[in-house]
Symmetry: C2
Subunit: 77 residues, 2 copies
């Protein structure tokens, strides 16, 4: 699993980051900005159906695009 | 509280949305795209220290800016 157990975030939660495209199967994303606990922004997506949590690569273009679409796609068409 | 208990997301989790600026006190944000359960994108911020969850207004300019900064501010300076 590419994610440590949440617990108290005294370190980075992501061990590995996925760059493969998961766009359509994302139920929600969690963005944890860089902090004293973890020097990097972490983006954790929860997948539909399985509920599995995966770490996304914040620098992958599709990740930025999916988050922008979530933000702008405010109302469900 | 402006948030329903998580449980199984069969409806919107946000009852009220905050437009006041909370930028610096945000520990993390959760973005839940519009879906069959909830017609609107929901953005739930967890505040530092208190751990309180608040619903942010996805259309408030500062919310979009904070999320963009989290995404681009990948490494802690």
């Amino acid at each position: 699993m590419s994610l440590r157990s949440p617990g108290v975030a005294m370190h980075c939660r992501c061990i590995q980051k996925e760059s493969r495209f998961f766009g359509r199967s994302i139920e929600k994303v969690e963005i944890i900005p860089a902090s004293s606990h973890c020097e990097e922004t972490e983006i954790i997506a929860t997948l539909k159906k399985s509920g599995v949590e995966i770490c996304l690569n914040p620098e992958a273009p599709w990740v930025k695009k999916v988050i922008q679409m979530m933000m702008s796609n405010n109302k469900r068409r």
